[in-house]
């Protein structure tokens, strides 16, 4: 067991992580503002936000396995931020679609969502994250109680599956990239399934917050 991080160090680490998580946004914002992205800057915004939403989602899901496998208990203290950044990038991704692709044409957005399965999967992934983001505060954990809160937050599994499926369904040829995400997700979910089957006592569950 690695010794716990001091509160001061934790504050520093969290601030640092926060800045690092903003780098993808800064990168694409710089590209758009300086007009240094050749071709379609909107496509760049869509791709960067979508990719990072998915990456943060998978990072969030990898906290539990890493904590238990490597006894890095304190990792839990970064999970909420990672999850919220997944939601933040997913919202950016959705906003680019609503503003630049559809320009607030709500009937068309609705038609697109119900008729195009990759759009539906993407919408599902974001919508499922909304209650999770809202109830991510300490207050909501208390209000719901640990057990119920945890049950609600299992929606993140569905959201992650929907996000990977969304990616697979939009590819025209060469599935290498989305399949890498799919494999990572299968490992992360598989770990949980195996642990459940083995009925190991959930060592660290009580400390979730």
């Amino acid at each position: 067991m690695i010794r716990p991080v001091s509160p001061a160090a934790l504050r520093w680490l969290k601030s640092l992580l926060f800045m690092v998580c903003l780098l993808p946004l800064a990168g694409v914002a710089h590209g758009v503002l300086t007009a240094s992205i050749a071709g379609d800057p909107v496509e760049a915004m869509t791709e960067v936000s979508g990719q990072w939403a998915l990456r943060f989602l998978l990072l969030t899901l990898s906290i539990t396995p890493f904590r238990t496998l490597f006894k890095l208990t304190d990792l839990i203290k970064f999970r909420r931020m990672l999850g919220l950044f997944a939601f933040f990038y997913a919202l950016c991704h959705l906003s680019v679609y609503i503003v630049f692709d559809q320009f607030f044409d709500w009937p068309e957005i609705w038609r697109d969502t119900v008729e195009k399965k990759f759009v539906f999967a993407g919408m599902l992934a974001v919508v499922l994250m909304i209650p999770l983001a809202i109830t991510s505060t300490n207050g909501w954990i208390k209000r719901l109680g640990g057990k119920r809160w945890q049950r609600l937050h299992r929606l993140v599994y569905v959201s992650a599956v929907a996000a990977v499926v969304h990616f697979i369904w939009l590819v025209k040829a060469d599935y290498t990239q989305p399949l890498i995400y799919a494999v990572v997700l299968i490992l992360l979910l598989g770990y949980r399934v195996i642990r459940k089957i083995r009925k190991k006592p959930a060592v660290l569950r009580s400390r979730t917050c």
């Binding site: 050749a38 379609d40 630049f100 068309e108 990759f118 060469d174």
Partner: protein
Amino acid sequence: MDMLIAKKRLPEIKSSEITPKCVYRNRREFIMGGAALALGLNMTSSWAALQSESPFPKPFADAPGSLYSSDEKLTDYESVTTYNNFYEFSTDKHRPAELAKNFMARPWTISVAGECNKPRQWDIDELISKFPSEERIYRHRCVEAWSMVVPWIGFELGKLIKASEPTANAKFIEFETLHDPQRMPGQKPGFLGGTLDWPYREGLRMDEAMHPLTILTVGLYGEYLPGQNGAPLRLTVPWKYGFKGIKSIVSIRFTEQQPQNTWNLQAPSEYGFYANVNPEVDHPRWSQAKERKIGELFKQPTLMFNGYGDHVADLYSGMDLSRHF
């Protein structure tokens, strides 16, 4: 009417006397590399990416204009030459520009064969000098719902067809791209097998091929076609989705049967043989009603036949375009 007045042509310089781009490009890189070495700088890779104007000679600068040209604002040179769907190099649209930078498009032979009386092998420079090129400013609509306005340089495919004297059996025309994984790295089998079934193939019905809008393209923005845009010879059919515009052509065949085309083989429910731009027939996975013109933030409505309906709609009269998509 001013569109009728063709630009004046320069005195004759045979196209064969002009140094092909891949040669002078290599030479330029060599010189730049040498200069950089001498100055102790590392400036070899990104210098080209910073140009907004073409740094290359323009052998076709004085090609005459055409009545078929659009008067819309051109998409900037950099976007036209760095935002390319060319899976023979990469599935990433920004990569072909880098990967095709030194693509050698000389020597290059195009075989014309099949149902015709005058089959023959054409050297690319012979083809360029035999069929004088003009500038055709066309809208280019990708099946991915983005578009450009490109000043292509080319000649009507119909002229080559006439010179080849197709027989009465020639109902279609089939094209093939070079298949050479050494020169086109995207053709190498990837991590999960290949991307497409090489070589890339496309086809047109004979009346589509003979239509004056259909051109064989040898340049853009007055210069030789860059590698990433399909050097040295590509097809441009402005009322169809961009994937019909097969690049780096090595074979042209007249056939009696409808040829197979690569994207149709890849996903028959998503890409048809005709691939006419049609805002009313969606791609199964995304809408085709709108498009983003590169350089614009917001989308605009897509036009039937990409706005060329007056010229080509009768080619398809009586056909159910939702079935023959």
